[in-house]
Amino acid sequence: MKFTEGSEIRDTRAPEGPIEDRWEKRKFAAKLVNPANKRKLNVIVVGTGLAGGSAAATLGELGYNVKSFCYQDTPRRAHSIAAQGGINAAKNYRGDGDSIYRLFYDTVKGGDFRARESNVYRLAQVSVNIIDQAVAQGVPFAREYGGLLDTRSFGGAQVSRTFYARGQTGQQLLLGAYQALERQVAAGTVEMFTRHEMLDLIVADGRARGIIVRDMVTGEIERHTADAVVLASGGYGNVFFLSTNAKGCNTTAIWRAHERGAYFANPCYTQIHPTCIPVSGEYQSKLTLMSESLRNDGRVWVPLRKGDERAPGDIPDDERDYYLERIYPAFGNLVPRDIASRAAKNVCDEGRGVGPGGLGVYLDFRDAINRLGRDAVEKKYGNLFEMYERITGENPYDVPMRIYPAVHYTMGGLWVDYDLQSTIPGLFVIGEANFSDHGANRLGASALMQGLADGYFVLPTTLGDYLAAGPFGEVDEQAVAEAELKVRSKIDRLLAVNGTRTPDSFHRELGKLMWDYCGMERTEESLRKALDRIPELRKEFWENVKVSGTAEELNQVLEKAGRVADFFDLAELMCLDALVRSESCGGHFRAESQDSEGEALRDDESFAHVSAWEYSPDGEPVLHKEPLEYEYVKMTQRSYK
């Protein structure tokens, strides 16, 4: 795939000056909208996850006229619901030395120096308000006997700053946002459109002015116009087919906005989570995440000998390889996500993996059970063990668990400036759908924080600044008609093929290809192979896919086909981005760029920038680089040995 390099791109919105004052400054500089005008300003929010749900609710509270969209049957089911671990906030309630600055520092470093300092600092500042807001809404966070909020340390952080609600933090936070949203629906400020899928963005006179959606129940294609559009449609990890994301997660909303001119930043940054339940058969439809906390007491190992077929219990200790403890004696089983993931892949590549297909490693609680007793282990991990047994049919008290890494989160997304505005004026992007705050690797419990920071606190201010110039008048009819036509013809094309393969079978094949060639470890060779293979497969898709039924009804095959079509295009861009970025950083590991000990090696000289891709209809995307500068945190190589 060819590409050209375009001009540099800059974030012109972030104020200058001391980092602590920038957000204050921006807030003060932001124009305010006259309250009487707010009702006349229409905003579309696509997505009802933590980001979209909180944004739509807050914009409604402020008095704007909001339309909110999601593809599920109710806003409460957005994928944010599945987040387990917790949410970070620099409250320093423990007095253990945490501070806004430390959260900022950890996030920049954790992101392997590929995120903007200004954005991350603001995120850390706002994190504090999120917890206040959630508690006031009635989110039942875990508490201590004194009645105060409990926290835990998470994802390798040295301070205890993660607030949680048992293993269902995402659910509880989302329900808080959902309830706030429904309150606005009742108040008439938000109109809710469930089972509606956004299929295109309307751009008129250089501004984002609306969306084309399909009513998934009747099949009707609808036009919705507005003064601004907010995308909060989540991540695109499902490009790998198998991931921990919900089945419906897709790239359609952001991809089609990309086709309309929004730049796509760092598409190749993918986070792989080390502790998931491995694939068990060819019918597998998704992967299930198991909390990382299991690594606190479980020991990871594989047999020393290749192809050792013995049952795990029959393998004596001296024939086991506790490889994390061996390679990383200081951190042992607690090394960061990307390192643990890659180590697992390496031992499996050596042929020492366990379970079906040799794609798994043991996570063994035998020693913990001997040391702490079965009851103590059960108290700590009982629900996780049960979940494991439910899925695999194996009892982890007797047989070690088998785990394997799986795609979990995508740091890349649409490029936005400090105001969360994309390169299309009036198109704002929040939550996992944008690229803004996590650099090349996201820390545990930071996605929830970012989604809510964007939705409750940042967007409502910055969007107001944009809307202060509105309303922007009638939308050019031609632009609307053109977008609608494009959507209709794509649907017609999909239905017309009438081939012999289902959309799912293509998706599965694409996913496998991405996992093999653009997964945990990428090489120039593998990426080139993928870039050859993807267009072929896409061609076959458009010639041989079979979509049953019609467009005028609830048609889940048609929905799927549309999403797979977009995944093909995105996959290609991901591979291209991964190929061009010939360094390793965070979740992006290029085998060519490692140090003598096999650790990721950054190349700050050439790659301390954001890669923002501009779509080009002729298939030759344009790369715009946004240089990254670090005034506060000094760039260093990570080391966990």
Partner: protein, 216 residues
């Protein structure tokens, strides 16, 4: 293979044979989003307790067994297609009052009001409802009491929920009636199939709040 994967396989075949695949709702496939739900052999979410449909596995079914699958059946949950039903009535019950009125940015510091751990834990237990609708599907009266009570109880147990406590209970219960759900007769069918094990006490809590609201 999970139950839904079995349906996936079946649908793949139906598509290739030129038939209409069976429409069914699902999303997270790990028992938390509440999107999936069908009555399997006469039991909402199947016979395994405390489990959503997507968490069922085929190894719990006998080979060659005939499985009867039906959608949730209740007037307020109209069938959209095959196994897909419209549960927006639940959203309207929440709209009636299932929230704490607190606009973003107006909240006091999270530690300004301590909450007894027992209350926080009990509130959490009620708050785990995933809004799947199995309680309605299983209830011989087609009542939505368990769902409604779970939310009322969650907010009733927390200090933050107190100011609107009674008006919330009244508005939500009345909306539940308005949607056409049946009345509760404490049969306990709901809690038996509830994937999150929401207990019947929540209904007692709802009744208390509703009575008080009406006595005022």
């Amino acid at each position: 293979m999970s139950f839904l994967e079995m349906l996936d396989v079946l649908n793949e075949r139906l598509i290739l044979e030129g038939d209409d695949p069976i429409a069914f709702d699902h999303d997270c496939r790990e028992g938390i989003c509440g999107m999936c739900g069908m009555v399997i052999n006469g039991v909402a979410h199947g016979e395994q307790r405390a489990t959503t449909t997507c968490q069922l596995h085929m190894r719990h079914f006998e080979d060659n067994a005939t499985i009867t699958i039906e959608p949730w059946r209740a007037a307020p949950f109209p069938v959209v297609k095959d196994l897909v039903v419209d549960r927006s009535a639940f959203d309207r019950i929440i709209q009636a009052g299932g929230f704490v009125s607190v606009p973003a940015g107006s909240a006091p510091d999270a530690h300004s009001i301590p909450v007894r751990k027992e209350d926080a834990d009990a509130a959490f237990d009620a708050a785990t409802c995933i809004g799947c609708g199995a309680c309605v599907a299983a209830c011989p009266n087609g009542s939505a009491s368990l769902f409604t009570a779970a939310k009322i109880t969650h907010l009733s147990l927390l200090p933050q929920g107190q100011p609107e406590r009674l008006s919330r209970a009244k508005a939500m219960v009345d909306q539940m009636d308005a949607e056409g759900f049946g009345g509760c007769t404490n049969t306990g069918e709901c809690t038996a199939v509830c994937p999150k094990g929401i207990p019947l006490d929540t209904i007692a809590q709802m009744n208390t709040d509703y009575l008080k609201a009406n006595a005022k």
